[in-house]
Symmetry: C2
Subunit: 249 residues, 2 copies
């Protein structure tokens, strides 16, 4: 069911975040040639494939081109925490790229296509392409912000607020990468995944989702999610129009 293949010298990463925003803008010729040089290949995997495993080193960094995934860690007591979900445009493996070992696992949920880079090329990037390096750090800082927001949710919101916040965030993120159709977005993860992400039990997650459906705030079935954005945001106590990405310098 799951296949992996690296296709060296494949087409350049038009969706790659290793450049200035906004997403989906075409690269310049100079950028294209650079990406070609830095890129090692393209990784195509089926669903439910472990891309990076906790505790192991990796010679590669990845950029998600297509598909959705999960970044998670296992605690010493055997419980699983989903750190975040992976969307197209996400960068994966910087930590391992810098520190040399993975502290978390990365696995695909849907089939995925990833852009593969050589870890060893990272230093070259910083030396010869300061703009790219700057963008990379910017991505890390944005990522850090999102993790901070997650911490706030796990620490200070109750179950229904957490669910509202998570579904809203996922819906926004998928819409921003063009995966929304008539307000519906793909939602391929299991309830167990969402429960592990929000620090809730599977049972309570299920019942809370039911509550959201009953009051008409979110419908999630058959791998598809549709929401009442305004009212969900009110419940999540989050300003949905809060600015996220500002101009650099």
């Amino acid at each position: 069911m799951s296949t992996t293949a690296i296709a060296p010298g494949a087409t350049p990463c038009r969706n790659c975040p290793l450049r200035r925003k906004p997403l989906f803008l075409p690269f310049s010729d100079r950028e294209l040639s650079f990406m070609e040089a830095f890129k090692v290949g393209e990784l195509v995997v089926g669903p439910n494939v472990m891309l990076l495993e906790e505790g192991q080193g990796s010679a590669h960094l990845f950029t998600v081109l297509r598909g959705l995934g999960i970044r998670s860690t296992m605690l010493e007591n055997g419980r699983r925490q989903v750190i975040n979900f992976l969307f197209p445009g996400d960068f994966v493996g910087l930590q391992a790229g810098l520190a040399g070992e993975m502290r978390h696992s990365v696995e695909s949920t849907t089939p995925m296509v990833l852009c593969v880079f050589n870890r060893a090329d990272l230093w070259t990037l910083f030396r010869e392409e300061p703009e790219r390096a700057y963008d990379l750090t910017w991505i890390a800082a944005v990522e850090e912000h999102f993790l901070g927001e997650t911490i706030a949710s796990l620490g200070q919101r109750d179950a229904i607020e957490r669910l509202a916040w998570a579904l809203l965030r996922i819906h926004e993120r998928l819409s921003s990468v063009g995966l929304s159709e008539e307000g519906k977005v793909p939602m391929p993860w299991r309830q167990q995944d969402l429960a592990d992400a929000l620090g809730l039990s599977l049972v309570h997650t299920n019942k809370t989702i039911r509550r959201l459906r009953e009051i008409g705030l979110a419908h999630w079935s058959a791998g598809t999610l549709s929401i009442d954005r305004e009212r969900l945001a009110a419940l999540a106590l989050t300003d949905p129009d809060r600015p996220r990405r500002r101009p650099l310098i």
Copy 2:
């Protein structure tokens, strides 16, 4: 009671993380001269001073030279989440430095001394000092890892495990920057701060700390903390000797 002062051209940051680890190693002459150039001044503040405020822009980045602080955000429902505690060697404001606006507040707990940088110099850093830029990104990646660990704690550990984990982590961190004396480290934060960091109520935090004291795992009083490291680690379900920082590339 609280004073702030910027002293331009002060002594270079011997404790600054903008360089390769380990901490406390002296800078090379080249590094020193660079730090002198990049550094704008030194910020000295009293306890309980708001250094950066949520929603505001800042022209500066900081490095903690001395003292302890708090990084926190306010949720829309008025509840506070402490993202993390600040120790000597921490870098503050990268997110604002890149995104232009703070999404969280930073305040001092004890008197602090910080190294001040110009946000606008960040791009110069990337262009002219790729090594420093690399180190900066490495710091961001390490920070990201710690936030991931916090997420796992808030999501998957119960109250006593969270406390054990937090006290262990704080003790380790303070020891690593040389603030330990005979196993005792300063612990200037309030129980309310720790509660807000761990997503627990003040009352329950208090009672859990009491439990830890009664079974002899941690003593925290009068701003001083001492722990039984081995048994606390066993309770926190964390391997205390897990390697944290590996060689670069």
